[in-house]
Assembly symmetry: C2
Homo-oligomer: 199 residues x 2
DNA sequence: TTTTAGAAATAAGATAGTTTAAGAATCGGT
DNA sequence: ACCGATTCTTAAACTATCTTATTTCTAAAA
């Protein structure tokens, strides 16, 4: 993972604030304050930016590229909890919010530009700019809705329907993801997904 | 569903603000403003307070009792998305936040006292008391974490482990829930849960 | 008290998903 | 262009879970 110098941060900040302003308006002064508190990272494909079992200190925003959050259980079975592409935020949220250990690892599945926001920094930013509470309220509300919808699909649909539904919803993600990863997201074996697809 | 007169609202408001203040401090004046915008309901067991397919206009806070959110798919299969007991908030959040139709129904599984907060009211309260943004930010953050953890359990654990894990985590809920409902929450048939339990 | 209905347990046959293994295709590195 | 290493497909045998049906149990209604 490479920390970039200040000169090139506009590559990160322009898309970041463009997305930010879709949710709430923000002044130049506020942008300046926020910018000064972010970290900019250029991460190659297949790099692990957070490891299961470690303390979680950073919340990531995806400027470009794609990430995957996955869990490894005692039996070595891998479960993909989430993918993130451009404009998504991702981390092990439980570990982050409760300053606890990560239950998932986070890896890039493409070369990625990320913005990192550290826990203590976010906490103090929220104090300094209460407006951010609204931003993150909206963010978490949407994240909650997303997870609840996913859970509902997991419970109420069969694999073929879940697969089609995912492809419809996130065609961009499908492109960067191996079938093995896709299967572990849907909760089936890659072999079975292969069967299902060929019908 | 019975709307209560003003005289008895303290039964609702005292537990409500006691819980509220666990997350953020709040003045008497703020309490007054919030109180004036809530609805108080006393709902008997097995009452449906929101029906799948209808527009969602209310967010519910559980003062006492218990609720269940469930979805019915085309094949008539029922999936329990969530339970809520004392101090939990519940609704079809997608329908609520996006003013869309409910994908789930909401029913009481015990006689329940609920506080209702309507969509437009919440929106204007958030304008009037920006402090509430923080409250709901924390609320949704926790809800998101909860859903993500549940999904992870769903993907990575077998039925027996999921069942034990639920009983450990929510012993109170287990008491108010039938085995059929429990099974539809865990994503298995009641018959299979019965087998699993007897081991 | 009898009746009724819904909960749960049990068991047999059906289906969805897993496992294993082997071959074909694809991809990054040299 | 070649090699080794993943990744994907296919298929057969297997296992877990589901469906359906029957029975028992329980609790509330009449």
């Amino acid at each position: 993972m490479v920390q970039m110098g200040y000169y090139s941060n506009q590559d990160y900040l322009i898309p970041f604030f463009r997305n930010f302003e879709k949710h709430i308006p923000i002044s130049d002064e506020e942008k300046r304050i926020i910018s000064a508190n972010l970290e900019f990272m250029d991460v190659p494909r297949n790099d692990v930016v957070l490891s299961q079992g470690n303390k979680v200190n950073t919340l990531f925003y995806v400027v470009s590229g794609a990430l995957r959050a996955y869990h490894l259980n005692e039996k070595g079975k891998e479960s993909t909890v989430m993918f993130a592409v451009k404009d998504w935020w991702i981390t092990d949220m439980n570990g982050f919010a409760n300053q606890d250990f990560a239950q998932v690892s986070l890896e890039t599945i493409e070369n990625s530009k990320l913005i990192g926001l550290r826990y203590e920094i976010l906490e103090s930013l929220l104090q300094e700019l209460p407006k951010l509470e609204r931003f993150f309220r909206i963010l978490f509300q949407r994240a909650y809705i997303r997870e609840q919808s996913r859970l509902l699909r997991q419970l109420s649909m069969d694999v073929a329907t879940r697969y089609r539904s995912f492809v419809d919803k996130y065609p961009k993600i499908v492109a960067s993801v191996s079938q093995k990863q896709m299967a572990s997201y849907l909760g089936v074996t890659p072999e079975f997904l292969s069967q299902v697809k060929n019908k």
